[in-house]
Symmetry: C2
Subunit: 366 residues, 2 copies
DNA sequence: CTGTTAGCGCGTTCAG
DNA sequence: CTGAACGCGCTAACAG
């Protein structure tokens, strides 16, 4: 027999049960004000007896704080964001806060809707991995701040927005990795998660523009790739950059295309896990072997990368740390301990394994 | 200049601005009751002008519904739960509900705390992947129901609990996979994520007991392994079951031990991704090759599994579907459309790839 | 069709 | 040190 929705006991009922005034009960249960040990005991016993639990909603209404922070990410099923969210929620819970998570499918309008929703729920703060590429499209974040809700950005800083942000240096991490490839003697290096444009940019300038328009982290990684090329005086070849939708299938196709070029790449830089698996598929189809025929470096280390033959050289992102750091900044802001905003850059780790080797036939003609 | 926490406009202010009574404003903004088109227009304009947004907290207080469901999982950073949560939250948002996610680190006491917390927040329903192994330790879930909050279990059904649950048939999926291994001629099959006990059970009976005590899905998978052995009349060998903490390192160690046995296993069944990667490491260390020397089957397909050489045969779980199905059941219950609880079993998919082959030296002596 | 009024459950003065 | 009284912002009967 299902007990019908018995209205949860209120503080008044506890007071009645204990034979005291409401506010005496409220004070002991709320843990504020003075209450004689004797009455205190009676109230506690009464509360225990009838199974009293404070209504957090009512409490939030009076106090104005919900002890809840909102988190907005593109896709909670993506292991990267999973790690970030876990870092945030662990840090939040350590402070007695709950976490409201919204997954926006990488769509700006969903992000805007989510932000308003969370504002309506009166969250005490917001951590967001925003899909906004400039201040103009981030009005919703300003709005949150206007409502007195602190916002900190994670993973993706929005240029021109005066907000704390916790990120990694995608450009530099990529530059360094590609530089290592070049250091090994590679001259033709493919870049696998390129801009999602239909037509392949012919001029380098167009590519840079596309990268700038390419929301988020991928554009920065492409810049790093270009930086490395520049540092070493290598020519840019548009044929070596993937274009089109960012899917594993597309990556496989594009890498297959590169491999069939008269002068195929001898190394590949992959910006994401699926870019890497797509590349691996293309290599297998082409009958090529990792390291011996084509060197490989990827982003986002995973336990799989270390057990592949050969083990893959990867750039590891501190997912949990990104989350905890963002949460800490948020709480510092909530506590009013922060004056001006900052960009916090966390370190990535280059994990050298065996997928990088000198090219089979040195490009140097000298 | 940071705009100081300007108190968000209330419905009364909108009414004042529009020059109507509060409830007229409330009715148009709340979308209930009758309001003349003319006034309606005035109210809407006024709301727009001063940037009114309803306070969801206050609304929930009056109505008693929060339009929020709580989700409790062991670890949001685990891709499996990430997928499940995404399924749940997508389904929830389609119904206009938000999702409060709590990650419990696989600890029952944290789960209990999380449940009470969510009850306090007056969530309208709960989806939980519980760490409780029997009805006795699931008092918190009963409590939620006592408060009129519907609960549906996901991934893990709690025996003896009268709750809807959405699961997969771990036992049968494992039995089938192990049976295929046996069908290929394997006679000695290692089982990689065994019970987390310190001492290796000597008798089969002890192992079964341990499996029953082993919370959640792993115990069921072990049962399936045993079933397959029984079906084919194969003897059980305690040495072929991993024991100890469920970590990748431990798996590597235990598989290494099995491989060094006088009669080593010719196939391995891995219950999780990390069990698989640990096994792969052990194989490499031992200088053994997948399929040729040792066949492999794992749980939870991932894009990596398909690009390894050779590609890995895996059992795929419908993560998103588990989530959406659970959410749908929850809403049906909220809508009062369900009479009695049921166990919903979703299909897994056996993805045959190249990591399974007949044993190198047939065990058959005939 | 509109405005008045009474709660929802809790926090917080303010007398007593 | 305790209890009565009011307010948070909104919904929902209820008269008018």
């Amino acid at each position: 027999m299902t007990s019908e929705r018995a209205a949860p006991p209120t503080i008044s009922e506890v007071a009645a049960e204990a034979g005291v005034g409401r506010s005496t009960a409220a004070r002991t249960l709320g843990g504020y004000g003075y209450v004689s040990p004797e009455l205190r005991e009676r109230v506690l016993a009464a509360a225990e007896r009838i199974g009293y639990r404070a209504n957090a909603l009512a409490r939030s209404m009076s106090t104005g704080v919900s002890h809840t922070i909102g988190v907005i990410v593109a896709d909670i099923a993506n292991p990267f964001f999973g790690g970030v969210v876990r870092g945030i929620s662990d840090a939040a819970r350590a402070r007695g806060f709950d976490t409201l998570v919204v997954s926006t499918h990488e769509a700006l309008d969903e992000e805007v809707a989510a932000t308003d929703l969370l504002i309506d729920k009166r969250v005490d703060g917001l951590v967001v991995a925003s899909a906004a590429l400039d201040a103009a499209s981030a009005a919703h974040l300003e709005r949150a701040r206007g409502h007195g809700i602190p916002v900190v950005l994670v993973d993706r800083a929005v240029p021109g927005l005066d907000l704390d942000a916790v990120v990694i240096d995608n450009r530099e991490a990529t530059r360094e990795a590609v530089a290592r490839l070049i250091g090994e003697g590679h001259r033709r290096i493919g870049f696998v998660w390129g801009p999602p444009v239909d037509e392949r940019p012919r001029r380098r300038r167009d590519l840079v523009d596309a990268a700038a328009r390419d929301l988020w982290t991928d554009g920065e990684r492409l810049q790093g790739y270009l930086d490395a090329l520049d540092d070493e005086g290598l020519a840019f070849d548009a044929e070596l950059v993937m274009v089109g939708p960012k899917t594993e299938q597309r990556a496989e196709l594009e890498v297959g295309r590169m491999l069939a070029l008269p002068e195929p790449p001898t190394a590949l830089f992959c910006t994401e896990t699926d870019a890497m698996t797509g590349s691996l598929r293309a290599l297998r189809t082409a009958g090529l072997r990792v390291a011996r025929d084509v060197s490989l470096i990827g982003f986002d280390d995973s336990s799989w990368a270390a057990v592949i033959e050969p083990p893959l050289t990867m750039i590891e992102q501190p997912m949990l740390a990104l989350g905890t750091r963002a949460a800490e900044l948020l709480f510092a802001t909530i506590d009013g301990e922060r004056e001006r905003t900052e960009l916090h850059t966390l370190e990535t780790r280059y994990i050298a394994r065996a997928s990088v080797a000198p090219p089979a036939q040195p490009a140097r003609v000298e």
